[in-house]
């Protein structure tokens, strides 16, 4: 990133969120998107100079101009501001326009955990989701992330798209030639389909809940809620006006929302209750004795533990090769040779 002209501390912000994506097991939001960020800076579609700017501010709120900088630069700026406000008045609600893809939403929500606060983060994204009863994509996968601190470093970390699944998951089934479960996506006529090809060519993802009968209109409503907090509140691009996924013909001007809430402004004993709530769920008798009940954030915790045991983050050889091609293209050193190969 610095080779193509990114300021070192901006590059560091991006590096941290991408590696964290991989570390948490969300490989779709990690190094495998490196190329996109490099291209964004190379083509100038994303800005490399300047810093985000507060345009309007109160004790508890702020409107930030992201100046078309890298998403993580805007996200960290906004989340720091939200935490600062929450330290003073119990809550900080900060929205940004002029932002770009910011990696995993959870990265920003989790910043608040370091201060023993609840954190939230939302972003709009390119249209990939078909609203209930429709047949055209008008909403992004618009993620919601909420992180809440429990005792001894434990936490609740929800980080979810408001679509039934991520588009990458449909692409994966397509490459494998497998049908997708009913309730993931629809075809160009707006009908649910189990054929990944139809979802990817003219169709789209469906909101959480799937069809109207199983409550898909709730996921549609949640996706719209995220848009209200992001594009609409921030005065950024929104809904189908956002540029097409993977096309960088014009600046993204994404809208994002960052919130910090200080539990000290509410009832004493927050982290005790939080730990108890997590214990209640983790301790449940599972329907299938081999598959334990988890709390949001536990699958990521298990992945991080695996990384710790292995002494690093395992990458698929395809990603390593892709990174090295990317490195070669811009003339930087490739990754160090793999010191340990793992077979599937």
């Amino acid at each position: 990133m610095t080779t193509v002209g990114t300021k070192p501390h901006h590059a560091r912000s991006l590096a941290e969120v991408l590696v964290e994506g991989d570390h948490r097991g969300h490989y779709s939001h990690g190094l495998n998107r490196m190329d996109m960020y490099v291209k964004d800076i190379q083509t100038g579609i994303c800005e490399k100079y300047g810093e985000p700017e507060v345009e309007k501010e109160s004790a508890a709120t702020a409107l930030v101009n992201g100046k078309n900088l890298l998403g993580p630069v805007v996200g960290n700026f906004c989340m720091d501001l939200a935490v600062k406000k929450a330290r003073e008045v119990g809550i900080g609600w900060v929205v940004a326009h002029g932002s770009n893809h910011y990696g995993i939403a959870g990265h920003y929500a989790m910043q608040a955990l370091k201060e023993n606060m609840i954190g939230m983060s939302f972003t709009n994204t390119s249209p990939l989701v078909v609203p209930t009863r429709g047949k055209e994509c008008t909403l992004g996968t618009n993620p919601i992330s909420v992180a809440a601190p429990a005792k001894h470093g434990d936490s609740f970390v929800l980080d979810m798209a408001t679509s039934a699944v991520a588009i990458g998951k449909v692409e994966l089934y397509d490459r494998r030639g497998d049908p997708i479960p009913e309730g993931w996506g629809c075809d160009a006529q707006g009908h649910l389909t189990t054929d990944p090809k139809r979802v990817l060519s003219g169709g789209g993802l469906v909101p959480i809940g799937g069809s109207e009968a199983t409550g898909g209109y709730k996921g549609y409503g949640l996706g719209m809620m995220v848009e209200v907090f992001c594009g609409i509140l921030a005065g950024a691009q929104y809904s189908k006006n956002i540029r097409t996924w993977k096309e960088t013909d014009r600046v993204a001007d994404l809208g994002q929302c960052f919130v910090a809430i200080n539990p000290e402004n509410f009832a004493p004993g927050f982290s005790d209750r939080m730990s108890d709530l997590l214990s209640i769920h983790r301790g449940l008798d599972p329907a299938n004795p081999d598959i334990p009940v988890l709390a949001a954030g536990d699958p990521e915790r298990m992945h991080m533990k695996k990384c710790e045991e292995m002494g690093g983050i395992p990458y698929h050889m395809n990603v390593v090769n892709y990174m090295n091609q990317c490195a070669q293209r811009i003339g930087v050193s490739p990754l160090l040779p793999c010191d340990r190969l793992i077979s599937n």
Copy 2:
């Protein structure tokens, strides 16, 4: 309510939210629950004296003791406070402990619309939802409501349980002897079932998204998020510690959360963009030409329009008879005779 000792302005708060539930077509949260509120006051399990009290406060936040008063009394108090704070510092985030059932969550979120603000409301409720992979109910239907103002009195009003459906809907299918769609509920072993009897006897509702494969863990995470904002933040009862649904052996001590956000603290032109976002969706080409694409709040708007055309809210004769029995039991006048009977 006043006959059993409720203060007139508390009774009015309750009346408004129940009638609004019916008016918006959510008959499960309207007059048909009248009896429950009367009993709560008669037995003294719900308090009739006093007013809610602010226990902790900042410019943007408050912790309120609901004093075990009627839910709508606590809800209106908190939402008024949230709006007042949002007028001053752009946001008000108010949580209450010691509350009771407050009717439709949307009632409180919509109070903010009158001030051209975004409103939100959340409540925890008695355990009726089985978390993904579990077989025991540990979460309530924990609703989320978000209302946002558009131009000319138009608005976005999301008001949804974080369960796939409401328990009343399963009861309805059971009475009719019909199977329920897959993805609504599970049996006592935690397996999805289409038999409403199994859901109602030892099983439970499942979170939005249904099974784990179709994203039910997202609905589970959202239900938990609501619990974090309510029972955990407020220091009220939470999760499976909340008393069993329809049992009033002890006080409810529900936790609730009320938020107001002032768009004037963010980018200018909020309501224009909001109207455009609604138009984009309402104007979509539908998958089925006979079933238009709607925005959250539109089905309720259609029901209210129907009421206006009929000159009142239509009630099922069973509800009228039930109300009259209830009136007779406590010695107040019955409803006026029906002046217009509508056949189904």
